[in-house]
Every structure is written in C-alpha cells, then in structure tokens.
Symmetry: C2
C-alpha cells in the first residue's frame, strides 16, 4: 500500500512544494498558497501528511535526501587526501555564488533559525544534520591533523560546521559574492595550514 501512496503523489509537485517551503519558510507559506501554486491536492495533503506540519517535515526530509546528499557527496569519498575532499566540498560554495540563479541558502539551516518555534521533532532533525556533517569532516581531519596540533579533529570539525552554517546564512541573506569567496578562502587557508605547522 505504500507503493500505491507513492504512485499517487506526483514527484514534480512534491519538488515544487519543497522549493516553496525552502524559499518562504513555514510561517510565511499558507496551505492555500501551496494548493494554488503547485496543484497539490488539498485532500491528499491531509490524507498523506496529516496537515501542514506533517507536510513541512516530509519536505525537510525530502530536501535532505535529494539536495543535501548531493552537496555533501565530496565528503563521502574515501580518497587518501583528506584536504582535497574538504577543499572540493567548500569550493562548491564558490560555484553556487557564481551561479546566476538566486540561492535561498540551505533549507535545513534556515529552518534552524526558526527552530525555537517548531516542534522538537524538527529541531532534532536539524541537529542530526549538524552531527552528520561533523562526522564527515572529522573523518578527513583525523588523517590531516598533526599529533601536536592545538585543536583536535573533533574541535576542528565543529569549527567547519559553524562555517557552513555561516556561509549558508550569508547566501540566504543575499550577501555579495566577495564575502562568500573570502570566507571560503579563509577556511581553506586554515585547513591547509594545519598540515604545514
């Protein structure tokens, strides 16, 4: 029966719904907007997602599966060169900033900013995303950081997660390309220096 459920909901429509929540956030997007702009059936919405909150959570998960997974792919490589993996990941921000289409940052991180007013369910999901990112960074940093380094791989991974959060928030607030570029360069110099010390 899960099979049937899936076949009913048009994937293209769900992508549109995801985009809308991503762009406008939970509180600034009404069910009427969704129905009117995407064609998602109102009755189907309540049958399959049990309301607006359920739909939002489903779209957040959809985003993580479809968008986030692709973005963190460079960090999944088991390449021996940990710096290269991290560098490839952060260079994506430069590509994003060069792109002519408007970026709305990261749906998950934008939601993080609204979190105080969402269900604990949503908050937990965002924190788990932070954790996944942390683990991926940490894996590469472990083989990169010298024994005598001042900061541990775990500490540095937190530093990188914080920088991703910063970059994504800059994107969302339509900051100039130069700011993005300078922050990425700062991060990369910092990581590069770790191996030289």
């Amino acid at each position: 029966m899960a099979r049937i459920t899936l076949s009913i909901l048009d994937e293209a429509i769900l992508d549109q719904v995801m985009q809308l929540f991503w762009q406008r956030g939970f509180f600034n997007l009404s069910v009427d907007d969704i129905v009117a702009e995407t064609g998602l059936n109102r009755t189907a919405l309540y049958k399959h997602f049990h309301g607006k909150e359920g739909l939002f959570m489903a779209m957040l998960k959809r985003y993580e599966n479809n968008i986030t997974q692709a973005f963190i792919a460079p960090l999944h490589s088991n390449h021996s060169d940990g710096f290269k993996a991290i560098k490839t990941f952060f260079l994506q921000f430069l590509e994003l900033s060069k792109s002519s289409e408007i970026s709305f940052g990261c749906f998950l991180i934008a939601t993080a900013s609204d979190i105080p007013f969402h269900q604990p369910h949503v908050a937990q999901f965002v924190h788990q995303f932070y954790k996944k990112l942390h683990q991926l960074f940490s894996k590469h940093l472990k083989q990169l950081v010298q024994k005598n380094a001042q900061l541990s791989p775990n500490a540095l991974a937190d530093f990188l997660v914080g920088n991703v959060v910063g970059l994504m928030t800059l994107f969302r607030s339509r900051s100039p390309q130069k700011m993005i570029r300078n922050q990425v360069n700062g991060i990369l110099q910092f990581i590069a220096d770790l191996t030289k010390q």
Copy 2:
C-alpha cells in the same frame, strides 16, 4: 512634538516588544500577541509605527542601538593590540554559551534568514550591519596581518563576519556549548597564527 511622542511610549514595553520579535520572528508573532503580552496600546501602535511592518523595523533599530552596540563595544577600542580586541569580542560568545538563560541568537542575523520576504528596507539594514562589523574587524586586522600574508585584512574581515553569522545561527538553533566553544577556539587560533607566520 517628537518629544511628546517619545514620552507616551513606555520604554519598558518597547523592550518587551523588541524581545518578542527577536524571539519569534516577524511571521510568527501577531499584533494581538503583542498587545496581549506587552500591553502596547493598539491605537498607539498604528499612530506611531503605521502598522506591524513599521513596528518591526523600529524594533530592529532599537535592537541595533541597545543590544548590538554593547556587543561590538570591544571592537571599538583603539588599543594598540588588535588581537586582544578581536579576542575579547569572540570570548563574549563563550560567556553567552555558559549563561543559563536561553539565547535567541542575534535578532539582525535571524532576520537575515527571513530577508527574502521582507521589504528591501529591512534587507539593506541587515547588510549595513554586516558592513559595520566588517569595518571594525578590518581596522584591527590591518595592524595585525603581515605584509606577506596570503589573505588581505579585508578578506579576513569577511571571514570573521561569516563566522559571527555562523555562531549566532548556532545559538539560535540551540546548539551544544561544545560546538560554540570549538568554533570560537578555531577562530582565535586562526587569528593568532596570522602574527606568527
């Protein structure tokens, strides 16, 4: 007549209104909520602020004057030691993370995340805040960075602004103390290394 206007609006009530917008954001706080929870007179609201948008903008300015100014005070010092000024500024995040009271991050930066849906007026105000922060960092970095450094003081200032944005967003999303501490330590090590190279 501006004199009269000021005497009418209770400063304590305005502080409460500011706190509410700060905590809940524009879209998740109704005029009825404001009236019920702070005692702000509804008629006065429309007379003096011309609606919810005007009140929000006024509270954002109030926040910048009262809260932000105090927070960036360490960067206003003309101390000869630029590193010390920057360090003092970032150590404030550690104090904040140790504090038992819940932090809602930075009102300006949380608004940045909602910006795509606000008036350009609001977006511009947030960008000017980024700019002010940049200039303050840049001032200290200029006397800190070696001539042969890979990154310019202006580039590094952008890097620091991005990190402030990241830290504030972590606060807002109720991230663990350890994440905050590790990001601050990363920033400080990076700046310290600038002088040693």
